[in-house]
Symmetry: C2
Subunit: 306 residues, 2 copies
């Protein structure tokens, strides 16, 4: 089994949900991705928090054997995001984004982590994502997440980053925006032409698609009856996806397809709780059972049987 | 192999598409559904046209061995719909809906058709759908399509119809509207409580879902690079779905899942042409190849392989 490096934000989120108010709960792309990946492989986290970061947060990450050598603790406050979700959770408004100690963050990869074979660049400024790659040996696979904020705010840096990664994870609408193309198949081809060999498009409750050359894999989403909090679903998806690849140690088509399902499995658990509450309790047995539910959900006879 | 009865509209459509203007081309729910089903089983069509209906329309239906005993030809004009699509085909506006001879239509099922084992009630007024069932012996399976127009315009008649069918085919947004529930799994349960044992929810470019008790099947959509005309996609889907079931003669879970894929296969061809142009040219070999493409699109190892 290989290990995996995650670089991204570690945050405290204040969530206004239909189910209640949740002040200063654990959040951040690296937090969600690390916890998701820890179900599959050893994880090393690189990020920054202030000295207000709660002990229970550190304890939770350590309880999942996540290596925190690369987690800086600095004087000051942790990145804090406050948001309010719509009643049906289909949209959210940012109330406050306080970068705090994250404003001056530059990832420093500990020497012992520089040869980690699988690397996830969480959803942070693309220049910071590139700084990570400048510090490490060429990994077996680098995946990166991004969002509309960087597509419009740092397009040149984003394009530089795309040339240096293997797999881009991106939302459907943002894929269209970045490619400038509505048709999803053509948009994926355009994104691949920008650098990454593989593109995974997240479609929320409609699942995810993997584009590998002209091969396409369409994964369903698990139809949950109750979703409590979608915050971090994309980060958990990417973390579970790469964590599974790191566990298997290979990047062939069959492994990639299973990895997309594992990412979907982990994300489906994450959204069942507030913040990391549900994800933190998921067991390997839970993963196996929900994977089987995905298989049942998607199965049909592969011959037309006319 | 069993045969199938289709009752619905036969129309002439004037289409304003990004790719051009197409006056008075073939349309109508029964036209699309019959042509789709004819790939799989013998089809009997019940509907009405005026004496302006073009000979090439009749010739096309006959060339697919569709039984037109139940197609009335009356003095007057054929149902005519005119619509304009958005540039990305994601929405359309009705410019004109001229019911013409369809205004007084009451389906008359020829005596020879009254024992047809598989029946599709195309998207027409729910009272007309019920009139069909009043004239025939209890079939093995009845499926019906409906739309927002009837949900808001004839809710009581719609509820009576739902109590008498086995399978409801409905768009995702209309499923939510009819059930009054946003969560798709709960909405499907509510729809099943209204009558139909089976519910199939159409999600356009996101595929389709089959709800059978607590069993759920999620089918992908085929990611096409070029869509010319989505008119009739839902009708073709339902026609292909029931046509396949009639061909197989059974309604078990495995057949139902394959039927949803076959419906998706046929609809994916339909939208590649204007009106019925592409659908009319589809061969069984084409169906087999695209079914295989769906299988490849959706395939992943069914064990988690942790």
């Amino acid at each position: 089994m290989s290990s995996m490096l995650v670089v991204g934000s570690v945050a405290l989120d204040t969530l206004h949900m239909p189910s209640g108010h949740f002040p200063r709960v654990l959040g951040g792309s690296a937090t969600f991705a690390s916890l998701a990946a820890s179900l599959y492989c050893p994880v090393k986290l690189v990020g920054v928090v202030g000295n207000d970061f709660p002990d229970h947060g550190i304890a939770l990450l350590k309880s999942k054997s996540i290596d925190l050598t690369g987690l800086e603790v600095v004087d000051g406050k942790t990145f804090h995001w406050e948001g309010k979700y719509a009643d049906d959770l289909s949209s959210r408004d940012s109330i406050a984004t306080e970068l705090n100690c994250f404003a001056d963050f530059h990832p420093k990869i500990p020497a012992a982590h520089c040869a980690t074979p699988f690397v996830m660049l969480g959803n942070i400024h693309p220049s910071l994502q590139v700084e990570v790659l400048d510090q490490i040996e060429r990994p077996k696979l680098v995946i990166a997440d991004t969002m509309n904020y960087w597509i419009t705010g740092a397009p040149d840096e984003l394009k530089k980053m795309l040339k240096r990664i293997d797999l881009l994870v991106i939302n459907e609408e943002e894929a269209r925006q970045l490619a400038g193309i509505t048709n999803i198949r053509k948009a994926a081809r355009e994104l691949r032409a920008m650098g990454p060999r593989l593109v995974v498009i997240k479609r929320g409750e409609y699942g995810a698609m993997l584009f590998d050359g002209e091969d396409i894999f369409s994964a369903p989403a698990y139809p949950l009856e109750e979703v409590l909090d979608p915050t971090g679903a994309g980060d958990s998806f990417a973390g579970g996806l790469l964590g599974y690849i790191a566990q298997q140690g290979t990047v062939d088509d069959s492994t990639l397809r299973r990895a997309v399902i594992h990412g979907s499995v982990v994300a489906s658990f994450l959204v069942e709780g507030i913040s990391v509450d549900r994800l933190a309790k998921v067991t390997q047995a839970d993963v196996g059972m929900r994977y089987a539910a995905f298989a049942k959900l998607a199965h049909f006879a592969t011959t037309a049987e006319l």
